[in-house]
């Protein structure tokens, strides 16, 4: 599925709108420690169309069913320990957002199971991230990493395109993709474009800041000069590509076309520059999640969620994705949970040499009484951090409400549990996208529901009506129970 090109003419209309747009956003509570008034100018929009924002999140290595799934019914449900406050951490919890929550049970990531060509041959960590938000079986072979492709676009891209279409103009950033991976890795990439090409995420707070505010604090004339230059340069670049394209082989034409489409996408956004005041960068410098060492994870995710909130507040984008850690082996050493070197295991009888303190390794022991409380701590940390994003968005006023009113966060894991299963994918929704869905519920499906229908339901809530997403054979239609 290819996105609808937005022509320069539409774009110019967008610019005109910027010039006369009303400054709707005046207060950025709790975001700017330097006392700078961060004022953004929101593009003009029809008063009747509410703003909606989508955030997709992946937590690694599954959950603990006994503490993740609530007890009770659709509305009288009782949350488990994974969704309650985590001792010793200054984080909100899903329990604080009970009325904004939908917890799902019985949603299966069938596309993951169907990956690599043979139904049933897919396996959690290898195919889970690629399928989680595409609903399409992963292409390529299990170990042929160069052949890795998404089976189609992820819904964050589809939703971003729909929102821009409704908006009538592109945003400066189509989608803000943040995550541990900082590049290509099938254990941590969840966003894919229409070609099934993975979209690189940023793991660097400093680079993310520059992406958001690189052109901040410029005069109007300086901004216009940049726009003019970029447009001329990108036009010239495209002409160069076209000359080579005509001469290239059939197979290379496909590659060059992909590049040219991407240039057009960038060019389309040249005019959409922000007018937010550039905040102070100091606290966003030089901190990344570390690859093997997760010591910085709480600080890093907190800063990334700050930046994401700023990006939304300045209307740089309406869509974001976030990956806490790559899934699978070796990447999730979480010493801040008291796991360093196997100490702090609450008197567990296990040999210290065995208790690796590594989340993925531990997740294999899910269901064992000694380990479930430890794994639950990890879940409570991830869920609490997502709740923190909600809290940050709630601290920013927008119109008569807050940014959070516009949000729909869709979170899950690449696997159900550390048993590498793809049934009972632990989907959670936080936020109702301006009243588009009914939250405060536990939806416990007794039949197996391919997660495609949930993705369709979320797309519908975000204004994108479709009957299939990903593998059409897995789709019955948008999950009706959302509304």
């Amino acid at each position: 599925m290819s996105h609808t090109p937005i022509h320069r003419r539409h774009l110019l209309r967008g610019i005109g709108a910027i010039a006369v747009g009303l400054p709707l956003l005046e207060i950025m509570d709790g975001l700017d420690e330097n006392g700078l008034p961060l004022t953004g100018v929101r593009r003009a929009r029809a008063a009747s169309a509410p703003i909606k924002r989508y955030i997709g999140l992946m937590v690694p290595n599954g959950i603990v069913p006994s503490t993740h799934f609530p007890t009770g019914g659709e509305t009288d449900f009782v949350l488990g320990a994974s969704m309650k406050p985590l001792n010793g951490f200054n984080l909100p919890s899903f329990e604080d957002y009970r009325q904004d929550l939908i917890v799902f049970k019985g949603i299966d990531n069938v596309a993951s199971m169907n990956s690599f060509g043979t139904p049933g041959s897919g396996s959690g960590h290898e195919s889970g991230p690629t399928t989680l938000f595409t609903g399409a079986a992963k292409l390529g072979t299990k170990e042929g990493r160069d052949t890795w492709k998404g089976g189609g676009p992820s819904i964050d891209q589809l939703i971003a395109e729909q929102i821009e279409k409704d908006h009538g103009a592109p945003f400066p950033i189509k989608s803000l993709l943040l995550g541990h991976t900082n590049g290509a890795d099938w254990f941590g990439s969840i966003s894919f474009d229409a070609n099934g090409t993975y979209l690189p995420s940023s793991g660097s707070t400093s680079n993310t800041f520059d992406t958001l505010f690189g052109s901040g604090n410029l005069t109007d004339a300086e901004r216009q000069a940049i726009r003019d230059r970029r447009k001329s340069v990108l036009d010239g670049t495209l002409e160069n590509f076209q000359r080579l394209y005509l001469k290239a082989s059939v197979a290379d034409k496909v590659r060059l076309k992909e590049h040219m489409d991407a240039i057009r996408d960038v060019e389309m956004r040249v005019d959409a520059q922000i007018t937010c005041t550039r905040p102070d960068k100091t606290k966003y410098m030089d901190l990344d999640p570390g690859n093997g060492d997760g010591k910085n994870l709480p600080v890093w995710s907190n800063l990334m969620f700050d930046l994401m909130t700023l990006g939304f507040a300045c209307d740089m984008t309406r869509v974001a994705t976030f990956v806490f850690r790559n899934c699978g082996g070796g990447g999730s050493y979480l010493p801040f949970l008291g796991w360093a070197d196997g100490t702090g295991l609450n008197g567990s009888a296990y040999d210290a040499a065995y208790a690796t303190g590594e989340h993925h390794e531990m997740s294999h022991r899910v269901g064992q009484a000694e380990w479930d409380p430890e794994l639950t701590k990890a879940s409570a940390f991830f869920n609490g951090s997502t709740a923190l994003l909600a809290q940050k968005m709630k601290a920013v006023t927008e119109g008569s409400g807050t940014l959070f009113d516009s949000a729909l966060m869709l979170q899950s894991s690449e696997i159900g549990t550390g048993g590498h299963n793809n049934d009972n994918s632990p989907f959670v929704i936080l936020g109702n996208a301006a009243g588009s869905i009914r939250t405060g519920r536990y939806l416990n499906y007794t039949r197996s529901v391919p997660h495609n229908d949930l993705l369709l339901g979320v797309m519908a809530a975000m204004g994108l009506s479709a009957t299939t997403v990903g593998d059409a054979g897995l789709c019955s239609g948008p999950l009706k129970e959302l509304i």
Partner: protein, 588 residues
Amino acid sequence: MHLDTRNPRHRCALPARGWLCSLTLLPLTVLGLGCTAQVKPSGGTSSASAAAVGGANSNGIQSAGGGGSTVLGSGGCGAIVPTTCNQPYPGEAPIRRLTRAELNNMLADLLGDKSRPADLMPTDSVRFSYETSIQPHGISAPLVDQYMQVAEKVSLGVLSNLDSTLPCQPANGEESCAQAYIAQLCKGAFRRSCSAEDTAPLFAMWQKGRAAGDFKTGIQYLVEMVLQSADFLYRPEFGDPASAGAGFVKLSGSEVATRLSYYLWSTEPDAALTMAADAGQLATKEGVATQAKRMLQDPRAHEAVQRFHEQWLGLDALATVAKSDTFTGFNAARPLLKAETRAFVDALFTENSDLGTLLSAPYSYSNDALESFYGLPSPGSAQAFKKVPRDATRYAGILTQGSFLAVNGKLNQSAPVMRGVQVLRQVLCADLPAPPPNLKITIPPPTADTTTRARFEQHENDPACSSCHQVIDRVGFGFEHFDAVGRWRDKDNNLLVDASGALMGTDVDGPFNGAGELGQKLANSEQVRSCYLRNVFYNVHGRPPTAPDRCSLEQLQANFKTTQYTLQDLAVAVTQTDAFLYRTPVTP
């Protein structure tokens, strides 16, 4: 202005398929069947009996004479699967985009920007492929946005130092000066002589910038455009039409020069190479070999060789692999472990040692700090890495260096499975299936009286695991004398280590005791030699070899044997193959 390029006619594959043409040539992986005792050489779809002995199909690809041509088809996209090697058979030659490292080097060589601006971009590959891979993950808008940011940053640097860059004085005529600069920039950036067709649009771009500001603004527009253009970011090849034959065309001199330069130096050709190309000296294999030998002496070639070996064994993870704090000194040792492998590889390459030595050498390169970390006697060298002896019964060249063992080690314990898998996959090119779905891993926890080995032997008692894990673990157990960070140990959990193991489904099957004996077996394996060639080919050509590459691989294989498996000779031999000197004809 924009031509319609939205619907290219392509008969090969859909754009959604990663490898495009090559995809149709990829080996069919048998999935879901579990392992047998036989390990198929990857790339082969041949019968288990042939595959069980690597030598029977030792080049690691489907042979055309067998069932290969029916499985693999005609090679798609114009590449012919040869039955006899009576003419050049080049295989696929997809257009190559600059890697991050190549872009950094180009910006330094072309524009003097040594700040490695492309490091901001995402990494080029994931573990166990090569940075030079044709980037099948494709290109996306965020990546193009980053190209734009790199170009803008670099162009500002050019402007700040323009006077020393320009071959002329703008005051003496801006337009003629811009033309002179364009002539200079174009040849370097596009790696070939530029025609009016190339330079006219560049001059027009300068004029646009000039109109928006001054002379310098024109240069800014120009440089930004050049650095984002297809002719710069990609390396197009068309071949010399006069030399076209059935399914092949010989590359032009400048195209061969560019291939040589990116293969050995990861950057544009130098003046000597360009001159050789202009003088027609790259039209013969001898001329190409002469240049390759010259270039191998350059430090950039040594860097390329080291990078290849680091990627082959997935050693980049050394920088980030997590280890328990109980391994005091590991963080300080990370760069030393990397340097050890680099020094070792570099010495072997410089001495033109053979592949067997790489996998079995009873020596390494180390300094006082690193030997102290290993718990070995000080070699008396505070900084420099000097040759240090190793016990041949215990050590096996690169495979017993801390870099390989720590990367393939858990947070605080050894990892027989990881080590076994990497030896089988990367050194022997065995095709191991991934674990089956819904796998419940039930390795029992350690007690005071079990070793790591004893716990993993549980795999063999569980029928769901045993078919694969008896193959994997018995290789990995050979490394049990090395702990999570690669230090020798006699005991594991206070019990004596048992490092006996066995190779199964290879051409060097049989029992061995410890890494030393494993290394000896690997050093004499035809399957290992073929696997190594396969990896070298992958790195050089940005794709794994496929059926149409049969003749090139046979050329490499024959040469490798003649030169007694020596590494420098192999590096030259790579440049003598059909795959390196020819390409498939370009039909737009």
